[in-house]
């Protein structure tokens, strides 16, 4: 189905860039609305879940090296149940990716292209992503690694000039209400962290599997650090006002004024954002395409890419009344169910199958002897 080979480092870069994509722009608002001045602690707490997810995925991949989650789910849970949950899982992928598409469309429409129809923005974006996914897993991974320096440089260009505006007093008092607010903030961040599960669709193509666990942990760690730094910057500059803005990161960019010539760098934010969103949607689109093909037992996934991208455009309108809906606690539970609970159950199932499978074999053998 897919003959490409990628490296562990590429998977790590791809997944951390994909997860960072939406969180960079909107996570500060969501986290600060519950965690206030202690929001900087939330990414660190949330990262434990991230580490758990990637650990489960890598372990499952070690048990089934050349299979994606859909394939070993069919094996572990039996075909009917596996296909059913697999389809639900694909629905989850499509829905989360469509959410991202909707966020992006709203962002562009609200800030830059005020009169352009939303369909044009979403459509052009998804077409580019479909083009990448049709190029195969190698293109998807290479695309992310190639654009990593661009994104890093642009983000640094945004951070550096704002250093002089940092006000550390904004973080006082530290943990005045105990650990509850940062934990709540970490819970709200769960609308991003479970996206790491999509990694399972890339693990079978990794050529150097020995280093996979290290790179996967590194991926989560870098994600945590970037989110942590962003939270620090945003809250140190904006303070209590952070939850008011929909895109605090954008506001940060508006603050920048270098020698009175480089002003209004929000277009730079937009460029970073476009690149990141392309990577995020590609991440999901490839997973959904290859997952659906495996779920239905099709020989090729490339013909599925365009239909699925059309469905994604549809899903980005369907049932999403506004962007805030995406961050509601119900949605977070939905994300956690598929992002954390499903791999966890599968891992337990694989453990049990290994143990009981052995016993069963043993009894069978004994039975044979008895007869």
């Amino acid at each position: 189905m897919e003959r490409g080979r990628i490296s562990a480092a590429q998977v790590a870069v791809l997944s951390f860039m994909a997860v960072t994509a939406t969180s960079l722009l909107t996570a500060p608002t969501v986290a600060s609305s519950v965690a206030k001045q202690d929001m900087w602690l939330s990414p660190i707490l949330a990262s434990t879940v991230g580490f758990l997810i990637v650990w489960l995925l890598v372990k499952l991949n070690q048990a089934y090296p050349n299979q994606t989650l859909i394939e070993y789910m069919k094996k572990l849970l039996g075909r009917p149940l596996g296909v059913t949950i697999g389809l639900l899982y694909l629905l989850f992928i499509i829905q989360t990716t469509a959410n991202v598409l909707r966020q992006f469309t709203d962002f562009i429409k609200m800030t830059f292209l005020l009169t352009t129809p939303a369909l044009v923005i979403a459509g052009s974006m998804i077409l580019v992503c479909a083009l990448i996914v049709r190029g195969g897993v190698e293109t998807v991974a290479r695309f992310a690694t190639l654009l990593l320096p661009v994104v890093v440089v642009l983000i640094l260009m945004l951070y550096m000039p704002t250093i002089k505006d940092i006000n550390a007093h904004n973080f006082e008092p530290v943990l005045s209400e105990g650990m509850t607010p940062p934990l709540k903030g970490a819970f709200r961040l769960m609308s991003w962290v479970p996206v790491f599960t999509f990694m399972n669709f890339y693990l079978p193509f990794v050529s150097n599997k020995r280093h996979m666990l290290g790179w996967a942990f590194g991926s989560v760690a870098i994600f945590t650090v970037i989110l942590f730094v962003t939270f620090i910057f945003v809250y140190a500059i904006l303070g209590d006002a952070t939850p008011i803005y929909v895109y605090p990161f954008m506001v940060l960019a508006r603050f920048i004024s270098l020698t009175e010539f480089f002003e209004h760098l929000e277009s730079l934010v937009m460029m970073v954002w476009v690149v990141e969103i392309v990577i995020r949607i590609t991440f999901g689109l490839f997973s959904a395409s290859i997952g659906l093909a495996q779920c239905l037992g099709l020989p090729q996934y490339r013909p599925l890419v365009l239909p699925i991208s059309m469905i994604m455009v549809l899903f980005s309108y369907w049932g999403i009344t506004n962007v805030e809906f995406v961050f509601s606690p119900e949605i977070v539970m939905y994300y956690l169910t598929f992002g954390l609970l499903l791999p966890l159950l599968l891992y337990l199932a694989s453990l049990m199958k290994r143990r009981f499978g052995k016993q069963q074999k043993d009894t069978e053998e004994k039975g044979e002897y008895a007869v």
Binding site: F112, S124, V128, T139, F143, T145, L146, H264, V275
Partner: protein
Amino acid sequence: MTHPKDERSTQPDVGAAPSSDAMPDNGTQSTNGSNTDNQNQAQQSAQQQPSQEQKASSNSTNAAYNSGIQMAPTPSVEEVLAYQRQLLSLPVTGKLQDNINTVRELFKDCSDIIVHEFDILNGPAASLVYLDGLSDMRLIDLQILTPLQHTGTDGAHNKEAVVKCVTISAMLEAMDFENVADKIGYGHAVLFMDGVTSALVYDVINPIIRSIEEPEAETVVRGPREGFVESIRTNTTMLRRRLHTPALKMKPIFIGRYTKTATVIAFIEGIADPNLVKEMEGRLSAIDVDGMTDTSLIEEWVEDNPLSPFPQLMSTERPDVVTAHLLEGKIALISDGSPVALIAPASFMSMMQSPEDFYQRSIVATAIRWLRMLFSLITIFGPSFYVAVLSYHQEMLPTSLLLTIAVSREQIPFPALVEALLMEITFEALREAGIRLPRQVGSAVSIVGALVIGQAAIAAGIVSSPMVMVVAITAVSSFLIPNYSLGIAIRFIRFPIMLCAGILGLYGIVLAALVILIHLMTLRSFGVPYLSPLAPVQTSQLKDTLIRTSSPHALTRPHLTGSFFNRIRIRTELYKSRRNS
């Protein structure tokens, strides 16, 4: 009747000896009944064959004679081709007269064929066949005719005696007329002797070539100034003069049924990947066309993605560039009649390098390389960025600049996109006209061009002055790209990006840039990714991509394909010990 296309593939020059099934069927036989019989007989007597053919055709057209038409009917194309095939398949016989007749028949209506019949002193009767002008007459007179007619073979009638007598070392033997015709066509002189069943082929090619000049498209300030010419022998000599080693291999291959263009695959054994050479040979031998007039046509046949605007083989006229790439493990194609050599596999970054980079100090060269990359970005995105900012993102400009631009655009009736397209297309037209026009008219174009893209256009209120600035910068920067084909490709992709910028602003530019990036990423040249050292990242090769390290620091050869053997290019330890002692 067979399809015309099929006929072509069974033409004489393809190589395989034509059999009777290659003969044209029913249609021909009705007009020329005894054609197949002729072919069978031809094996025995080539000399009688033409007359028989005529007899046969006159028999079948008796009716025409009877009705009073005096002219013989024109033979159809199928007949002519079959006859040619038949003649070419004949072997060289021991009878001199038969051979001469066959040659005369083959080169019928060729006014430049010379068949010189003479007697070797104390030897057999002989005949020397060559093409006037293509062969060196002086050489023939001095080295072939003089010894044969004045020294002779002392009564021996065998070919060894003749070989001993003639004082030309470049000699081959031809057994059949296909070979003979090929050699005569290349300018060799062919010697037939009575009683000898093979022909002796002497290399007396008279090379008519222009003098070696500096290539105009790739000039350097410091570095060698010679460029390839149209003669393949001169070109391979230039390569050999730089690589004095038997490891420099040049595999010949002939392309084109009629042109039979000699092409050479040059590579260095031990550095180049053998699979790469095999792949190139396979792709070249698959070419089956009437003719090849330049290496650019070969490029179209062997490249991986013919629909891409980007060149997938690097073209150069400089032997030093070819040498440098051969030393990196690439392979070169040199073709007769073309001063342009092709280098494969090519990568985007290698085409962004100028030979000058390697002849200047490494730090300066690195700076120039960065300058070049910056300005190629300006070429691609300059006009579209201007359009996007003016149409959608006015807030990005400092207020005072924005006001100035607004004032200058006050009189302009067009939106920024139309203005940009107008000016850029005009510039491209001027550039094209500047290349194609005769030199005498050239100055007129530059004067008119200055009016069209300049103060007059602004005064007329058609374009604004910032737009003229943007076009001028784009124009200058587009000529910083060293490879002309890549430069054209980059100039071309500007226009779709401009349209995207006009429709979606900066977002459109980013999307268009991503699409181009994806295309470049999926593109491969002979299995090597086009953006090779950048995506996928190969850290060892970045030394000659974003920077140009000084030669002692470039320790390893580039890693082109899967096999990575013989990778150390410099023995540092040896160098250091020699320097320090």
